[in-house]
């Protein structure tokens, strides 16, 4: 499955305003609009027929247009490329709001991947030529992006990947393969993390590659438990010839780019998760007040009330970690331990509160029609992607000198 994605997309709306705003200021540096409510005018479109899309495990291209129109994809990028020029914490706020509004966690995950996979590192480390050529399309959402880090045999050991790039004149020739690549089936652009030197941190380099480049092959979408509307697949490279000018940063700088990207990938995608948890809590509180058993609202029973109180504590703990860590990363402070802890806290809280919601909704929560069980399936992935909970704890232990 190599042909470029042919699904319909529009370029005339990416920086537009929502139907309810009409301000036309999205292309400037003005971030006065509350980024948390960016997607709110598009809620109906984003949340239409979610069960059907989830069951089909299909990427919702029409909803992608709503994502484009909302301006979400433009938030962290410089105005000269069509972006809003917002900082890291403002981008997190926008994604939190998107997670609160959009019930399709797979779509949100693909949107977060779109922002962070190529656009963010290209803006930070890319040549002016590459930025001018590709960023406008990425920011608009017309060029869908993916980054290829994980390999079949190197899931969590990113610094020792085996895909190689060998210098050949003005080009590099890339051979190998990547696994579990989010957005790959729909992506136009890939950022490849490959080995250009000896194993270890200094042997990693990064290349921007277009989908139709000979030697790049995208596999069939892989069916999965949750986030089913966010497609992922394998990507393989055989004699993939890439000009040296497509390298992002200097040779050997891949580990620095990876560090920059992974911090933001975690902060952005788990800000989405925070928004989803906020919505879940509101829904559960509402249900506990209205659902009656034994003549009383179930929220009046201590067993239910305490479970909901714990959900509230989980949401606010997640918010505090995200807020504190986001501020540290934005300030350029060493936040390695904080990022690992934040990822663990938020992903595990999401899984736990999703299960709590099923329990509180009882039989209704077990039905697919209420969407509560879908939240559980979606939440499981969060403890696996971007470094499993086990890897995060290893990292924290290592930083403690253990």
């Amino acid at each position: 499955m190599t042909p470029a994605p042919s699904a319909p997309r529009t370029s005339d709306t990416a920086t537009g305003t929502g139907p309810g705003t009409g301000t036309g200021t999205d292309t400037g540096t003005d971030t006065g609009t509350d980024l948390y409510t960016l997607a709110a005018p598009w809620a109906d479109e984003l949340n239409r027929d979610i069960d059907e899309w989830d069951a089909r495990a299909e990427f919702p291209w029409d909803k992608w247009k709503a994502v484009q129109r909302s301006g979400l994809l433009t938030v962290p990028f410089e105005p000269r490329y069509g972006g809003r020029g917002a900082g890291l914490t403002d981008t997190m706020r926008a994604l939190e709001g998107f997670g609160r509004t959009c019930r399709d966690a797979g779509l949100g995950f693909s949107a977060s991947t779109q922002i962070v996979s190529v656009g963010v590192p290209l803006q930070a480390f890319g040549s002016e030529e590459l930025k001018s050529r590709f960023l406008p399309g990425i920011v608009a959402g017309d060029l869908v992006t993916a980054h290829a880090i994980t390999e079949r045999d190197n899931g969590s050991d990113a610094l020792n990947i085996s895909t190689t790039a060998v210098r050949d004149g003005d080009d590099y020739v890339i051979d190998g393969g990547k696994m579990f690549i989010t957005n790959a089936p729909i992506a136009d652009l890939f950022l490849l993390y490959v080995r250009t030197g000896a194993p270890g941190p200094f042997g990693l380099s990064v290349f921007l590659v277009e989908r139709d480049t000979p030697g790049l092959r995208v596999g069939e979408p892989l069916d999965k438990m949750g986030l089913r509307t966010s497609p992922l697949s394998e990507v393989t490279f055989e004699g993939l010839r890439v000009p040296a000018a497509r390298r992002i940063g200097q040779e050997g700088a891949g580990f620095l780019i990876l560090d920059h990207v992974m911090k933001r990938e975690i902060l952005f995608s788990f800000s989405l998760t925070l928004g989803e948890m906020e919505h879940r809590l509101e829904r559960v509180v509402q249900f506990a007040k209205s659902r009656r058993q034994f003549g009383e609202p179930i929220g009046s029973f201590q067993g239910v009330a305490h479970r909901i109180a714990d959900m509230k504590i989980a949401v606010e703990t997640a918010r505090k970690w995200l807020t504190d860590t986001g501020a540290k990363v934005a300030a350029g402070q060493d936040a390695s331990l904080d990022v690992a802890a934040t990822k663990t806290v938020v992903s595990e809280a999401n899984k736990r509160t999703a299960l709590d919601a099923v329990q509180i909704f009882g039989g209704q929560g077990y039905l697919t029609a209420t969407g509560i069980e879908r939240d559980v399936r979606n939440a499981v992935g969060g403890t696996i992607y971007s470094g499993t909970s086990e890897i995060q704890r290893n990292r924290i232990a290592s930083l403690l000198g253990l």
Partner: protein, 85 residues
């Protein structure tokens, strides 16, 4: 050690050797071979040096020998900051 090397030594001790005996930590002590700094540690050191001494990441020569010892790190930081002045 120069004052710059002492500064870098202070960072290495605080971040990687807190509470350890650092009597052997001379300017040419091999941090990588002796297991003081691993791959993730190198990432943190590069970020720290870039931020603290205002060296663009692209100007930091990303070869292992530049991060092998405090002396090596202070040498390239000195070169980079002189070149920028």
């Amino acid at each position: 050690m120069t004052s710059l090397a002492e500064e870098i030594r202070g960072y290495v001790v605080a971040e990687f050797l807190d509470g350890e005996d650092t009597a052997d930590l001379t300017a040419d002590f091999d941090l990588i071979t002796n297991g003081v700094v691993d791959s993730l540690g190198v990432v943190r050191i590069v970020s720290h040096l870039s931020r603290t001494y205002s060296i663009p990441v692209d100007d930091i020569p990303l070869v292992p020998d530049n991060f092998r010892s405090i002396g090596a790190m202070s040498a390239f930081v000195e070169d980079a900051t002189k070149a920028a002045a």
